[in-house]
């Protein structure tokens, strides 16, 4: 989950998010280096006591500051395109879950074998137990097995919403009448939080998403438990 005054990304929970994290580190380092160099040059020029009145042009430096940026751009573009294509790889999911946005809660459906569906409401602040996170906890979590490619189909039953889990690198709009697919693998057990990411009315900030990743054996116990409950 996000922490107060956090600057960077949350720890990645999926391989794609790891790639995005490392790419971001790389691109940001390029930005910092260029900015530092430019700032140094500006300060040096502004504080210089002497000026060369006879400098008109310089072929060498013109070549350098054309070729070098081109190389830097290529060094940024290549990893970026690699990740873009990685995201589009064809994967055969092991399970399909539907996440449907409502005003103002999510509902999850696991219908591969039987009709299992349940709603997920935010836990109000006065009902939180010590240790729980304000505005992030939900009464029923979307449970998913670790290390299994999963397909989530996102839609909405009334207005636009958006299903986002930053730690897994996922965000997809929930559009009424449309099914948006996102596929991912969670590589470690854990609880990952997200919030509705498309303005949807009064309680838009109060319909969080909680994904709980557990090992496959325990996942099967959970589905039996949920089927009995609902």
């Amino acid at each position: 989950m996000a922490l107060p005054s956090q600057l960077g990304f949350q720890d990645a929970g999926s391989p794609l998010m790891e790639e995005l994290l490392h790419f971001h580190d790389h691109a940001l380092m390029v930005v910092f280096l260029i900015s530092t160099m430019v700032l140094y040059i500006i300060v040096a020029m502004v504080t210089a006591k002497l000026t060369d009145k006879l400098v008109l042009d310089s072929q060498e430096i013109e070549i350098i500051w054309t070729v070098l940026p081109a190389i830097i751009l290529i060094l940024i573009a290549l990893p970026s395109l690699r990740i873009l294509y990685l995201m589009d790889e064809i994967n055969d999911p092991h399970l399909t879950i539907k996440a449907l946005g409502h005003q103002w809660y999510w509902s999850y459906e696991y219908t591969d074998y039987e009709d299992l569906g349940f709603d997920s409401y935010m836990i109000p602040t006065h009902d939180l137990t010590p240790g729980q996170f304000r505005l992030l906890e939900a009464d029923h979590r979307m449970v998913i097995p670790t290390e299994s490619p999963a397909r989530v189909l996102i839609s909405a039953e009334d207005v636009l919403h958006s299903w986002a889990v930053p730690a897994l690198g996922i965000k997809a709009d929930a559009v009424p009448g449309r099914l948006n697919q996102t596929t991912f693998i969670v590589n470690r057990p854990g609880v990952f939080y997200g919030q509705c990411s498309e303005i949807c009315g009064a309680n838009h900030s109060f319909m969080p998403i909680v994904v709980e990743a557990i090992p496959l054996e325990h996942f099967e116990n959970w589905t039996s438990l949920m089927s009995e409950e609902t």
Binding site: N91, H94, T96, T111, D112, L153, A172, G177, L179, Q181
Partner: protein
């Protein structure tokens, strides 16, 4: 590829990747399988054949389509007001 339909149904895990719908928008994937299930039932019933192969389409649309959409379409089929061509 040489699995019989019974084996495929027994080993069903979830809707497999369908090359006809490679992109993010899977709306048509869900709707097409719903249509195909009913068309398959109608066609095989007309020829007096076993309708087990049609179960595949049912498994796929059940995996992909939200339950509310399926319920609405089933009600429309019962009423005779389903807009799709079966």
């Amino acid at each position: 590829m040489s699995e019989t339909i019974d084996e495929k149904l027994k080993n069903y895990r979830t809707a497999p990747f369908d090359a006809r719908f490679p992109n993010t928008n899977q709306t048509r994937n869900c709707y097409q399988n719903y249509l195909d299930y009913h068309r398959c039932n109608k066609a095989l019933a007309a020829k007096d054949q076993d309708q087990t192969p049609c179960q595949w389409y049912m498994r796929v649309y059940k995996s992909l389509c939200p339950m509310s959409w399926v319920a609405k379409w089933d009600d429309q089929m019962e009423d005779g007001s389903f807009p799709g061509k079966i």
